[in-house]
């Protein structure tokens, strides 16, 4: 039998520099690794989860250049120079992001496993459309499976955060 010898994880021959949660970050890793694997295994950012590693469940979503992508389907080598946002980078100045507050207050996280990906996906939605309708929220989150909540408290939390963010940006003006 022929054994194909794949590069091993310790052969960290690939190297990229990315802007991870606002910080310039260098990382070396085995070239076959996905962004998900590099985030969790090489950068210690375990907030991003996995449920299938086949692009089916949405649990690994992160924002790359502001867009929600499935990090299990993206090779890390494609992220050189890119801005990547994970759940660890959502809050600022020691405070939770309004989405995080709303999710915590309104029961939008039960087991919490799908939560990081849903949070960043919701952030991408609100960044692009500050006043989405319920239908637009449902559509935006339709690639993120949640097995606990039945989604309704998630929709309500996104709507509550939307109101809070709008109020904050109004008072800022």
């Amino acid at each position: 039998m022929i054994t194909i010898s794949l590069p091993t994880e310790s052969q960290k021959t690939a190297h990229i520099r990315l802007i991870l949660n606002g910080e310039e970050t260098d990382v070396s890793f085995a070239p076959y690794k996905t962004l998900l694997e590099v985030l969790r295994e090489d950068l210690g950012h375990t907030g991003t989860k996995h449920g299938c590693e086949l692009g089916e469940c949405g649990a690994c979503a992160v924002l790359v250049e502001g867009k929600a992508v499935l990090s299990c389907l993206l090779l890390a080598v494609e992220c050189d120079g890119k801005r990547v946002l994970t759940v660890e980078g959502l809050g600022a100045d020691g405070k939770l992001h309004p989405l995080q507050d709303a999710f915590a207050d309104l029961g939008a996280a039960q087991c919490g496993y799908c939560t990081p990906a849903i949070l960043v996906t919701a952030k991408a939605l609100l960044d692009q459309n500050p006043h989405p309708s319920r239908e637009q929220i449902r559509e935006a989150l339709s690639g993120n499976l949640c097995r606990c909540t039945g989604y309704l408290q998630i929709f309500e939390a996104v709507e509550a955060a939307m109101v809070k963010i709008a109020a904050q940006s109004n008072s800022a003006v």
Binding site: G51, E56, T86, Q100, F103, A109, G112, I137, S142, R147
Partner: protein
Amino acid sequence: MPEEKEMRVIGVPRRRVDARAKVTGQTRFADDIFLPRMVYCKLLRSPHPHARILKIDTSRAAAHPGVYLVLSGKDLPIEYGILPVSQDEQALCVDHVRHVGDPVAAVIAREELTAFEALDLIDVEYELLTTIADPEEALETPAPRIHEYGEEGNIHKRVSLEFGDVEQGFAEADEVFEDTFFYQGNTHLPIEQHASVAIKDPEGKLTIWSSTQTPHYLHRALAKVLQMPPGHIRVIATPNGGGFGGKSDPFNHEIVVAKAALVLDRPVKVCLTREEVFYCHRGRHPVLMRFKTGVKRDGTITGMHLQTLIDGGAYGSYGVASTFYTGALQTTTYHIPRYKFQGCRTFTNKPPCGPKRGHGTVQPRFGQEVQLDKIAEKLSIDPADLRLRIAESSNAVTANFFRLSVVNLSECIRRVVKSSDWKEKFRKLPEGRGVGLACSAYLTGAGLPIYWNKMPHSGVHIKFDRGGGVAIFCGATEIGQGSDDVLAGIVAEVLGLETFDIRLYTGDTDLGPVDLGSYSSRVTIMAGNAALQAAERGRATIAEAVAEKLDVPKERLRFADKRVFDLEAPEKGVTFAEAVCLAEARFGTIGAMGSYTPPKSPALYKGGGVGPSPTYSYTAAVVEVAVNPATGWITVPKIWIAHDIGRALNPTLVRGQVEGSVYMGLGEALMEEQEFRRLPKKLSHALVHKFPSMLEYKSPTSLDMPLVFTELIEEPDPRGPFGAKEVGQGPLLPIMPAVANAVYDALGVRIDEVPITPEKIMKALAEKKAGREARFGPGDFPRVEWPEALRVPPPWEGGDGHAVNDAPRAAKHRPEKEKVLSS
């Protein structure tokens, strides 16, 4: 307990104690654990559904660079299983594989990819055996046996119980209805894949972190298989990324990494792939059911005979309990004066079935509620009114000797009838639209533990700090349902604190007293009552010291707003921290223990151990559907649901449990199927999982979720902490039958099978068009050789809870030593 009007925590919608960790991604799930020198484990799984292992050669894998250890069956031969009567699993199969995915060897390597690669280097020689694909085949094929134990052939368990003369009941009936139903199997699909990390700790003992709902039972299995004293094993249940019953068994991968860590003296991690999670399964049993029910013209039930044929899959798992559960709770919703139940679970060459949300009671609830809809129609009674006539009431003892506590089923029905505008919709909506109603009951904790003994089912230890901090230690396991918040809420309320003041150390067999785990909807009532008792004992100690200091009778002291003060002169008091110091000065170190044991059940017959509960929750639901008659496509715009919860400890979480149950029920009703198919003959013809992936195993997305209108009925139950009953499972049960009943209202076709798919609707419509019975569902119930029924006269016939034809058991007192469940 504080008076209701004074409560500050209980009943107040609030952020759960672990919410911040979850929304910041800091909750540490098992696969988030990375330890220095950690190595990775992968399992080699059988590609055959049924085979003998003739030979395993692991030498090439062991020699592969980067591989540290290869284990096979001979390294871990001791059998284990969740139930004492079904110790039928081996961590790695020694000589017999029973389903595709059964593990036969494990590779532990420096890197996960290396371990995966080395699996190909293990040479296994199999001798293929006849595959048994379903219960009908199992009944017809006594050999080869999948297991060498069980009733006979490939029948795992057969039970037969009769409470009163059911034939007499049918003789007294005006109408007798006979219906068969089929409930397809489905799976939990937690988003988190099972993962475990094991270490040999610095002292040389074993510690394992695992995504388990039942650390106590994993602890027992590890001690048995590894032949170690339990005191040298520490199991830490990491927060589960969804459980739903799927992480309630001790698993082969957990035992394998524990063994490997002990051998290698390095941390060993395993994380299953999604495909492997489908092979672990333990999900909903496929069940064929036959209901024969006699009724009077006014709807009164005179007797019911239920038969269930259960597809158990390849192992016992919880299956003996599941078998009894398929017949246990029929009597808890409606008054049934005479009841006969016969259940048969067979082994098949598929991943083992087990407990999924509603464990074993979901399938017969579907049949019972759909049949009631048919009965109501035949008798020209509104199905809501029919149920109101026959609904059980508080404090009843059922025909099978389950003692009910507070029952608000009727109120649940009245609420959903009103909120859904039922009377204006039922049989009045235009073609293609319909409403359906169904009800259910569920346990608030199993009345008996898996290993029968006289010890408590849950224990809580509270530690009080001089700074006013309070720490709770308890074996209860957080699977997302909010068990930590239940404990914190109860203790905070009793001590006049906020939940943020409380630290939780849960799910750890070293730190906390035993709690049996997160299954059977038991945490709120059992860990909750234990926490309540511990908190009240702690408060009494503290109150005594404060009373002395303030010179106030201790009965007059109130604990609120982080103070302890005189109710009659609230300014006279001390801070909670000062109160703890006073108590410590007076009595020494302050701690408090609490525990909970359920009340004794009057069901004393063999098999009566499955179904008793301290109290039962009740639910009623109305589902509205829109079905396209041209395509059969179903959409569900709205669901109204009322749940009899006793008391909502944290209404935000309770609503989440109700809506989450509705969601999961809707998935089962409309799309979810754990299905199998045979590979083509020219290949192996093996029976394989039809689609072990999340893409192909359809589950509802955010776009499929209807609006849900939830109402809670809060009449405190004296058995529950602050009156609380369960909510995690019960609200799932009425959804599937309510959908089926709504489809009938919409199109006049009966779908007596779950899931209810467009294809089945089109077939039923074709039958209707052809002038045949407008129905899609199973035909006959196959012949099963039933054992002689244990005859237990119901309470109203003078029964004492024993079977009249089981004299040896009746003569015996309840066994004192550990006895196995339903052995």
